[in-house]
Amino acid sequence: MGIIDVTAVISTKDRYFDTLPMCIASIVNQTYLPKYLLIYDDGEQIDLRDYPLYQNLFQHLYRKDIDWEIKFGDKKGQVHNHQKAIEDAKTEWIWRIDDDEIAEPTALEILVSNIEEGVGAIAGGVFDVTKTPLHLPPNTPLNTIDTVRTSPNIQWFKMKEKTDVAEHLYSSFLFRKEAAKHGYCLDLSPAGHREETLLTYQMKRNGWKLIVDTSSVTWHHRSPNGGIRSYEDSSYWEHDEEIFNKKMEIWNSELGDYKVIMLDCGMGDHIAFLMVLPEIIKKYKKVCLSVHWGDPFENSNVKLIGIDEGKKILGENHEKHSIYKWMWDHNWKGRLKDAFREMWL
């Protein structure tokens, strides 16, 4: 395996003089250094370069050849920041870490050592700093999705062996951008409850392996202020849980095994898409198209639904299905049908 370039990503909110500097320091001290550090600031958005604490930290990043950047978030919550990170990161691998977490020096090195073909994401142990980490109790489900509400997350425990059968991850993990192409669920509230579960479970559903190797350790300081603890409105959590339940319902339904693609575009675009549909069916096997016109697909082996139904299933993520937005974002110069190919294959 050659050198894998990694972008470390922190989404932060009002923890400038709390846990954020410790988190950055732990990144600086990694035995395997990320190439970039992106910090998305949803807080007061002060200029951290004005403070000696950060002046030194930024110098330290510079000494370690870590190219850093602080971006002001839109204050829509961490999910939007993490989504932005996928779009902004120049590397294929992204290591996300929370602003109240401190990684052990070997955390990233161990995560990177697990990279291999077919692996979408790798998580380590995320231990509460106020408690001694326990060994994983026997027979604990290994982060299966159907036990997400009833069983403890295995990332909270020390495991004798790593596992590649996990169905979802949480908190801090290293992931492949390609595996996160479906994006974060932008319908979630600013609290972003279940955001990692939704992102990683969809990776799993798309055929990527999720690894948990708790020899990579990150300590959770559970800062009582800032971050998602800035949000006191419990309705945020209820709202997100409802979205999660709805997603699970769809995934467990007849459409659960289908790749849903929305064509919220013109008739000509539908037909251009039709030209690459055989390749799309070959890749995804079961395809459900949310369309304005069903006629062009009459003899194709796909399930058809309307645009409104597609929007209900995809939520805010349906915007990512816009071929025109995609071509605009990618400064596309090729053929329309090839844009569809590039977008979905």
Binding site: G266, M267, G268, D269, I271, A272, L274, M275, W293, D295, P296, E298, Y324, K325, M327, W328, W332, K333, G334, R335, L336
Partner: protein, 156 residues
């Protein structure tokens, strides 16, 4: 008598105001010249569109009939609308008249793509058409279209 299918218009702008900049301005001249060459002209489209001097109109056709109409003609001509995609999908070569949209993106090599000059292409190819102005001079002259039709139907 050779049959030409013409799909003269792109869909109206959502603003409901002004001409779609993709719509060709000199259909009357094209049709007159085609008639002079003895072609039988079928206009396809939807009800409410301005009618050209056709021999026959086939509006609001079901998809499969539209396919058949295109498949069975000697040549088709369209602006940059769905017809070119459908015809290309069914491997029927024809003529597409471009103005401000880029044939390298929205066209197909299989067809004869008539673009007057790349200088007329709009800067933002994926922006809303409502933001674009209609520009008559961005289109090729009718004679060029006739030349392309004669070339394409030669020996049919």
């Amino acid at each position: 008598m050779k049959t030409i299918v013409i799909s003269p218009y792109s869909k109206p702008l959502r603003s409901g105001d002004g001409e779609n900049p993709k719509n060709y301005p000199w259909w009357d001249d094209v049709v007159r010249l085609l008639r002079d060459h003895g072609f039988y002209i079928i206009q396809i489209g939807v009800h409410g569109e301005r009618e050209i001097d056709f021999h026959e109109k086939r509006f609001n056709l079901p998809f499969k009939d539209l396919k058949e109409t295109i498949k069975n003609c000697d040549c088709w001509i369209s602006v940059d609308n769905m017809t070119q995609h459908l015809a290309t999908y069914i491997n029927k070569k024809g003529i597409v008249i471009f103005s401000k949209s880029d044939q390298r993106i929205f066209g197909y090599d299989e067809n004869i793509n008539l673009l007057k000059d790349r200088k007329y292409l709009r800067k933002y190819q994926f922006a809303m058409w409502e933001d674009e102005t209609f520009q008559e001079e961005a289109f090729v002259k009718p004679e060029e279209i006739i030349k392309a039709v004669l070339e394409l139907t030669k020996g049919n």
